[in-house]
Amino acid sequence: MMNKRFDRGRPQVFAALLLSFFITAPVSARDFRDAVDEAVRILATAKAGGQGSKENQQAVITLATAGDKSLMPLLMGFEDATPEGENWLRNTFEQIADQVRKKEKQLPATELEDFILNTNHSSQARRLAYESLLQQDPGLQKRLIPAMLMDASQEFRRDAVSMLLEKADAAAADEAVSLYRRALSGAVHEDQVSRIAERLRAAGEVVDISQHFGFVTTWNVVGPFDNREEKGFAQVFAPEEELQNSAEFKAEYAGMNGPVKWQVLQSEDDYGIVDIAGQLENYKGSLMYLTSSWDSPVQQSLQIRLGTPNAWKLWVNGKLVFQREEYHRSTRMDQYVVPVELSAGPNQLVVKLCQNEQTQDWAQKYQFQLRVSDSAGAGVLPGQAVAQNVYAEEDAR
């Protein structure tokens, strides 16, 4: 019984140890570090479903008791943290940083700045450190951000692009083009890319937005198959059956309006939109299968980012990675972000795209856009292991 109680109260014991450390220092610095590390570990591994919240709260007390000595371990804890864990770590960090400020003390500037600059650390933790430090060091932005154009954090990249855009907008024509080009190399957000492209095109420059974002623009498509009353979403048609069983497609199938064959569909859109309604026909109550091959030089973890107002399923190398049955509730680029593991060599992407029978004007789109990106949202093209950029090496130099 005593042991059980001890186990359940482990974080309280750590808190007591820490308290006694401050009062009488009977415990070693190592015990202190162990207690902090264990509390960080508890938070970092926070579970889904709200489980373990009491234990997490005790860990927060332990870390708050340790005060500013917990700050750096908390940031380090982001490394392998669960999404829930990241939020526990963040909240505890903010609590302690507030305590430090209330005591009119300073956050550990050197350690935090070193942490921010080390791109091996978690993007979220680096950003948290940056925003916290910025409050006591307003010069941090000008000092750090310009070198973060190719950062793994989309937030740092956005700031770096914004600073370059300010310069470019104020620069003479020749220099402006160079600055816009440079800004484009780091831009991962649609609004910034579209603004840069507009400026460059106005200056007579060629900009391939689709390639910049890594949109997949060439597809083989077959259909229409029957999706009346939205029943086709769950129904397995011949291409889908082949996908699951043999991964080899026949040349011809029985479609909803007669025989259908594979045909090539190429998107010329800046944002990779494959427009079934515009390029083929808005077959109401139908669905299409589309396939494309994406060559990867190595096995790598990337993201597939998809936008569509239609219901859809996505398979990568025969494995269903996500499906969603929602029609005409709006669409945008990067609407869905699906983490995928791509194999070295050709990777087969298959999309099932479904149109329903709604008659409203706003319910007539039959389209999707799909791109491959890294975790910051930078486009990755077939044959690339990571987003490449000529300025990255220059920045490194």
């Binding site: 479903g49 709200g50 919240s53 526990w88 903010e94 929602e326 609407q335």
Partner: protein, 404 residues
């Protein structure tokens, strides 16, 4: 004559009953503690002007969530960042407007919304000791009243298809020790009861798979066991026990998917083919009347002084008789309205989308605009009332109105 007399007596009794159930003080969730948008004896200004703006505090990012008031704390949520994935919980002093604390979190679920909406659309809820923020991304966050995290639920990752690309807006409600959330979309739909102390799920109900922006309403019983939470959807209204999610009754006459039902003295006013009044009798419900010409648009109905007040899509405020639904009077305001109005001390406070505030004096046979103020900022949230103040937020500001 006898009929008129009986009706008058009934209205008086109805009014007295409602009045006795009202108390001044907190506004702890969407549409107030009783989820009915009515507050008792707050001494609010009846003329809104620059001199009645007690303070204005800056807010980060964007938000449609309404402020809640707990003692001398007024709390509100926001979302910021290119993807609206930075979640904010903020607490201000009701009297001074000074920021007491500000906590930030990272959304786990999908954050995409229609440009008019924001990830921070649902209003927070509190039991006085804890405060819960909910977002369109289905991130559900509970802190104590000092912003210290108590639990975190990423319902968006636990149920990755329960999202709406236009955005989700249902505000959670607290009934006793249970927090009830409705997460309903075309692709996946459920409601669940969450243990407020631990964040763990007590029960989960499958719900009609269809987009739904309504919020639950609460009928507070003598005990937690006898309270009811009303879950509205396009199918109708379902009453559940908050502790275990057991279904007590169903009204299957269909209902709106944006404005939510309101309850006054045991009568439920459901946005259903206009307004449909339901009477709860024990564990059953019966339909009293339907008024097709009381058709709420986005704002939820408010019941006060024997009148069911409804804002329609043309910005017209209509008052219907709570006993039979017959329309008593109409008053043209200037819409559109995204927020639900509040009523205090015989006056209705409504904020239209462009930020014009209206104070309407409510009388038995008419409503009269007695004050108008253009805030110059878009207002999409439902205001909160407490500690002698009327609180409203835009994207940029949290504002307190009170008597000078």
């Amino acid at each position: 004559m006898k009929a008129i007399f009986q009706k008058t007596i009934t209205v008086v009794i109805f009014t007295l009953l409602i009045s006795t159930s009202l108390t001044a003080g907190d506004w702890k969730q969407f549409r107030g503690d009783a989820t009915n948008s009515v507050t008792g004896s707050e001494n609010l200004p009846i003329e809104l002007s620059g001199s009645t703006i007690a303070w204005k505090a800056e807010l980060p990012g964007r938000g449609l969530s309404g402020p809640i008031v707990v003692g001398t704390d007024v709390l509100v949520s926001s979302s910021s960042g290119y993807f609206q994935d930075r979640l904010h919980m903020l607490c201000f002093d009701t009297r001074s407007g000074e920021q007491k604390w500000h906590r930030q979190f990272k959304a786990i679920g999908r954050t995409m919304t229609h440009e008019k909406m924001a990830n921070a659309t649902p209003t927070m809820a509190s039991d006085g000791r804890r405060v819960v923020a909910f977002f369109s991304s289905n991130d559900l966050i509970c802190t104590d009243m000092r912003g210290r995290l108590l639990w975190f639920r990423g319902l968006g990752s636990e149920f990755p298809n329960a999202s709406n690309s236009l955005g989700m807006s249902s505000s959670p409600v607290i009934a006793g020790s249970t927090l009830v959330v409705q997460v309903e979309s075309d692709a996946e739909a459920f409601a669940c009861g969450v243990d407020l102390a631990t964040g763990e799920t007590r029960w989960q109900l499958e719900r009609p798979r269809a987009a739904n922006w309504t919020s639950p309403s609460v009928i507070t019983g003598k005990t937690e066991e006898t309270s009811l939470v009303l879950l509205q959807s396009s199918k109708g209204l379902t009453a559940v026990r908050p502790l275990d999610g057991s279904i007590v009754w169903n009204f299957d006459g269909g209902a709106a998917t944006i404005p939510s039902a309101t309850v006054a003295n045991g009568t439920i006013f459901v946005p259903s083919n206009g307004i449909t009044a339901l009477q709860v009798n024990g564990d059953a419900v019966e339909k009293l009347w339907n008024a097709a010409n009381l058709a709420p648009a986005t704002a939820s109905p408010v019941v006060y002084n024997g009148q069911c007040l409804v804002l329609n899509s043309s910005g017209v405020l209509s008052a219907g008789d709570v006993l039979d639904g017959n329309r008593i009077w109409q008053l043209r305001l200037r819409g559109p309205f995204s927020s639900s109005p509040v009523v205090s001390g015989g006056h209705l406070y409504a904020f239209n989308e462009s930020g014009t505030a209206f104070v309407v004096q409510l009388e038995p046979d008419r409503g009269t605009i007695i004050s108008e103020l253009d805030l110059g900022e878009k207002v999409l949230c439902s205001p909160g009332v407490g500690d002698g103040g009327l609180f409203v937020r835009s994207d940029q500001h949290l504002i307190r109105f009170s008597r000078p």
